[in-house]
């Protein structure tokens, strides 16, 4: 159809500046990292080598860190999705006042306006043994002694979920807003209870938002550096921290580059499988 063709032409023109910026800034840097990771650095023009990759993938410590990064990212994605869906659903369906809704969106995106260092230290104060969370739990008698929420995996997940929550809330809310309320009415009219209506109509129709949100959260969690570094107190390592060490402290750019490429490839492959899988559902 010529109509669709015209749309495509307009769209591609609109996309052009963005694509140009990405190509200009991303391709040369990624290419140089890639090249740096597969050549020897002993002389000016090094010979190709897979040494860096073998070293990373053959070492239990490095592999363990990779798996740990993956696990933290997955758990964060699930937390951000669950929490984000609840918040988005509440904002779209329950909040009637426009002012309240705008204020709520502001609160949701607030973490993005704060420096990640300030935000992480804020969590350190709140999650510590004498922090507001533990004090509340103790005063309510929920626990008898402080729960360790900091300098461990839980703390990292809490911090990451907090900063990445806006991405799931906003993408899911945008999709929920688009769902015609009469579809839910039609489901109920045809005999579906509220829960069944949600499971058979609302949830499937909001999946595009769920997919978009989880992709953003997962990729950002995989590459997060500051939040895991501060909230784990340096006791836990994620791959971005290893990369940073190689580039800044050890000066082994080849090895750092190899780790970056593995992280990038793994993220791309996983998100690819995920989107492919959801498309077939």
């Amino acid at each position: 159809m010529s109509d669709a063709g015209a749309r495509l032409r307009v769209l591609s023109r609109l996309l052009l500046p963005g694509v140009a910026v990405l190509v200009l800034f991303l391709v040369p840097t990624v290419a140089s990292i890639l090249v740096g990771s597969v050549v020897e650095h002993k002389q000016a023009l090094g010979r190709p080598t897979g040494e860096n990759y073998l070293r990373f993938l053959g070492d239990r410590y490095y592999l363990g860190t990779l798996l740990f990064t993956l696990r933290i990212s997955l758990v964060t994605t699930l937390c951000a999705l669950g929490l984000g869906y609840l918040v988005a659903y509440y904002l779209v369906r329950s909040v009637r006042s426009r002012t309240v809704r705008r204020l709520a969106y502001l609160v949701v995106v607030a973490p993005l306006f704060t420096s990640s260092i300030v935000r992480s230290f804020g969590w350190m104060v709140s999650l510590g043994n004498n922090g507001i969370v533990n004090r509340t739990l103790l005063d309510l008698g929920v626990v008898e002694r402080p729960v360790r929420l900091i300098f461990n995996e839980a703390g990292v997940v809490i911090g990451l979920t907090h900063v990445l929550l806006p991405f799931t809330v906003l993408t899911i809310a945008a999709v929920l807003q688009q769902i015609d309320a009469s579809l839910e009415e039609a489901a109920m009219d045809l005999g579906a209870s509220r829960l069944v209506t949600f499971l058979t109509v609302t949830l499937p129709l909001s999946l595009p938002g769920v997919v978009a949100g989880s992709l953003i959260v997962f990729t950002l969690a995989m590459s997060a550096y500051v939040t895991p570094a501060v909230l784990s107190g340096g006791r836990l390592k994620v791959v971005p921290m290893l990369i940073y060490e190689q580039y800044v402290a050890v000066y082994d750019w080849g090895f750092g580059g190899a780790m970056a490429m593995v992280l990038l490839t793994l993220t791309l492959v996983l998100t690819g499988i995920y989107t492919r899988f959801l498309r077939t559902v």
Binding site: D180, S182, L183, E185, A186, A187, M188, D189, L190, G191, A192, S193, V196, T200, V201, P204, L205
Partner: protein, 359 residues
Amino acid sequence: MSADAADVRLAHVTKRFGAHTAVDDVSLEVRPGEFVSLLGPSGCGKTTTLRILAGFLEPTAGEVSIGGQPMRGIPPYRRPVNMVFQHYALFPHLTVADNIAYGPRRRGVGKAEIARGVAESLELVSLQGLGHRYPRELSGGQQQRVALARALVNRPRVLLLDEPLGALDLKLRRQMQMELKRLQEYLRITSIYVTHDQEEALVLSDRIAVMNAGRVEQMDAARAVYERPATPFVADFIGQTNLLACTVEAIEGPRLRLRCGGLPLLAALPALAPAPGTRVQLSLRPERIALHAERPALDNAFRATVSRRVYLGVLTNFHVTVAAELALVLTTSDQSLAARIEPSSQPWIGWNAGEERLL
């Protein structure tokens, strides 16, 4: 009518939204198998009434019963009704067959029976073989049929239709009207149809409830609503009419002498004769006024001035003024006569007493 004879009964139903009263003390009954239209301008409360029946809204006051069962507190998913929505509300993520099977699945109907029901419903709306398509792959008219099939497959006690043809073009709309009528007569399903299109209501309905400002102004058979409107609103809303403000002057045998905007008129004496001096409204349909080249021998005959002639294909409308003060609209289907009567010419118009209706 006893309570059991009615499939749907609304008793003094009122719905308020804050200070606004959307439905104001509406009482009506729909018999089994009957096709009733709720007709009125937008904001008259017809859709709100339908949504109360479907269970999406609870009435502020009054009682609703369906099939003899009181409906207060019963959620939409437990009511023996199904609705066809204004913009179809088909589930975009499900195929046509799955859309139709949605209701039976919720009721736990067996697989084989669902398949049979889906096939039957598709055939009923002449969409055989399109079950595997998605709603977006269908035309507006086809989507409309799917919406109808999705409701009918459940064999609801009452079918609710919320301006279901509103989004279709005129030709398709006429066609769907006939098809809907055929289906409804074939299935003998009690139907309540919301529309603002008076012609559609006349074509489809056994009875029409004309609504205005949250109230039912008149509920009657289509012919009665058109020919014997109970209120000025009904007379004006159903079809076109000339509404004249008149004063009763005298009773002359079987006739009533009126003065309408300075013009003396003769009207038939109604059963309840108004006393001289009473103010009445007179409704005179455009097609009841005849056009003549010479003075006609009719009870009411006047020389009129044509201010505008509107050609409508089958009919021609004339906007005329009588005695420079009374503006009337009249219609003729005699196109050769209409062609001879030019704007600003002065033909005779006339009608006999009894063609009008006093309100």
